[in-house]
Symmetry: C2
Subunit: 168 residues, 2 copies
DNA sequence: TCCAAACCCTTGGATGTCCTAGTATATTGC
DNA sequence: GCAATATACTAGGACATCCAAGGGTTTGGA
């Protein structure tokens, strides 16, 4: 996966689409494919930055979410909704974070069905340190110019709203 | 994972970043997180469209790539480079496509190390049908406006080039 | 009151991705 | 010509994601 290609494979795919009579959807195809590839690149950078902490992005996101909750605790279903992942993915992440002593499960005081995830002090400390590294090494060197960042936030925000993520 | 949230969780995260003194990287953080989430949404749409064909996106991409190769065949390492995934991921995809009778492996005529992936006629037919459905149901209804598509292609194209994907 | 429907979490299974080796074949350099 | 290095593919393992199904808890309508 190493050396750069001589040509942009996505631009090539777009040309192929046009040549085959699908010119009307060639551009959206290219945009969507570019999003998939960009996500892959960014995820790799993030995972590299988090590796020294023994964290993956999924686990980091959960830690970060908990660290912003006033009480440092959230119900699992709340975390699932806010992170927008399947409940089983949260179960998986909590299992591993709990093994590492970064969070712990506790019963909900009034609803016997619900489990609360609580940040331990180790978890809170690690979240803070990991965030500092992510800010410095990934978000601070994204490679996006300032106006591009604003455009991405706007375009993808509209997309996510229309997709039903939030604020129907 | 169903009902829309009352508020945009990514916008909330951006505000949290600003509140905690990381205002300088809050916007890139939000943009990157939005890319991750958008990819997730798009992938889900694509997988839904492909499910009736027994295809996943990874397998479809390989089929589509082969269908654009003149001879309908490519070396595994070439496919790995063009799809920008790890060689083992190609091995995995080829295994399953071969089981389904959509591709077959053949030895390279002059290089004993190399394996060629060839499209079968079933594979070619299925690629064509799957592409038609993807074009109609996903790319044709992306939810992106036309100028947004152009902006995404430009912004993400620059990003991918700077990330070393192509055209050093 | 009480049972069905709704909700919450977990287990088990299928996929995909990557990394680290290991085997086989080519290429290079002496 | 032969050993050392490089390249190509695959096997095994770690993770993450989703779906389907199961067991426990609450809620709500008859």
């Amino acid at each position: 996966m190493g050396t750069p290609l001589p040509r942009d494979p996505i631009a090539d795919a777009q040309r192929n689409w046009e040549r085959h009579g699908w010119a009307d959807v060639a551009a959206p195809m290219a945009a969507i494919t570019a999003i998939m590839r960009t996500q892959q690149i960014l995820l790799a950078r993030i995972e590299t930055a988090l590796k020294p902490f023994g964290l993956t992005f999924a686990r980091y996101e959960l830690l970060a979410l908990l660290s912003f909750a006033r009480s440092g605790a959230l119900p699992m279903n709340k975390a699932s909704a806010l992170l927008q992942v399947h409940p089983t993915s949260v179960t998986n992440a909590v299992d591993r974070l709990q093994e590492a002593g970064l969070v712990l499960r506790s019963p909900h005081p009034t609803d016997g069905r619900t489990t609360l995830i609580e940040l331990t002090s180790e978890g809170r400390t690690l979240a803070k340190r990991a965030t500092a590294v992510l800010n410095a090494e990934v978000f601070g060197r994204s490679g996006f110019e300032e106006p591009e960042v604003e455009q991405l936030i706007r375009i993808l925000g509209n997309f996510r709203r229309n997709a039903g993520d939030f604020g129907g």
